[in-house]
């Protein structure tokens, strides 16, 4: 199953996605079969604090963790049935500003990133993806930022087409736009 979680900042999307990945992955006697792919680069104190906050949210949920800043398709997922990828907004920014990539390359970037996600999708039974809603605050951005919003929007739309379920997090509440979540997600107590 492929599930896409979308939401604004501090909308509770990460926790919903984690719970979804836990519900989807089969219990195993051989340890964790859930892999968390982290895309945030630890630049600066604030990023480190965010990463730490996410780590503590995930603690006890049985995820192994691997960093992947670019070229998602190269991540080794062997032995895992469920992958939680967080998040498309960081991954897209990382790909846009990686060494050797310039504006002319941005034309094909949505294709490249969606291709990487498809390759990952082929390798695992369940893929849960977190992405950001950066599309509803009225604009007024410089052309480069507008371009980023456009590329991420295209990626989100294409992933939503591919996904079995698309869920928006609103105040920690799952609002389903497509398909259905595994039973019990978002119904219990949530910490945000």
């Amino acid at each position: 199953m492929m599930v896409l979680f979308l939401g604004g900042s501090a909308s509770g999307k990460s926790e919903l996605a984690e719970d979804c990945a836990v519900a989807l992955s089969a219990p195993s006697a051989f340890g964790s079969r859930r892999l968390y792919i982290a895309t945030m680069q630890p630049f600066g104190e604030e990023a480190r604090q965010r990463i730490e906050r996410h780590r503590s949210l995930r603690a006890g949920k049985g995820f192994d963790s691997r960093d992947c800043y670019v070229d998602l398709s190269g991540t080794d997922t062997s032995g895992y049935d469920t992958v939680l990828l967080e998040c498309m907004s960081n991954l897209t920014a990382n790909e846009m500003y990686r060494e050797g990539v310039g504006r002319p390359d941005w034309d094909g970037l949505a294709d490249k990133i969606c291709g990487d996600v498809s390759a990952l999708r082929e390798k695992v039974q369940n893929l849960v993806i977190v992405t950001n809603d950066v599309h509803s605050d009225g604009g007024g951005y410089d052309s480069e930022t507008a371009r980023y919003i456009g590329i991420l929007g295209e990626i989100n739309t294409r992933l939503a087409q591919q996904a079995d379920a698309v869920v928006e997090a609103v105040c920690g509440i799952p609002v389903t736009h497509k398909g259905a979540l595994p039973e019990g997600i978002g119904e219990g107590e949530r910490k945000c």
Partner: protein
Amino acid sequence: MRLIVGGRASGKLGRVQALGYGMCDIYDGAQGLADEAFARPVLYNLQELVRDVMQNGGDPSALLQRIVEGGTQVVVCDEVGAGIVPVDRFERDWREAVGRLCCALAREAQIVERVCCGIPTVIKSDEA
């Protein structure tokens, strides 16, 4: 408690009035932090109250307890997180604080509504 969220000017105030509340029932968070904020049935513009608390060096997450204990019936807040993360540190922290407070309020609320073009959609209801 009922939590009503939605974008700016999405018709939230109209929804509050449709529920039977008048302007005298409403405390506007833009007026800043005061005891009065928790004494009226409706707390409106919660995001501005959060801003005021933060500008004065306070802890916005403490608003949760005051709202719950004060017995506010309806809390209204703009959704502010769905844009590019701001460069300005305060604006970034403010968005984060508003979002987290709304997640916490949604857990306490019996009903959560999201308003779009004046149309409310119930996204959580503890009522049968």
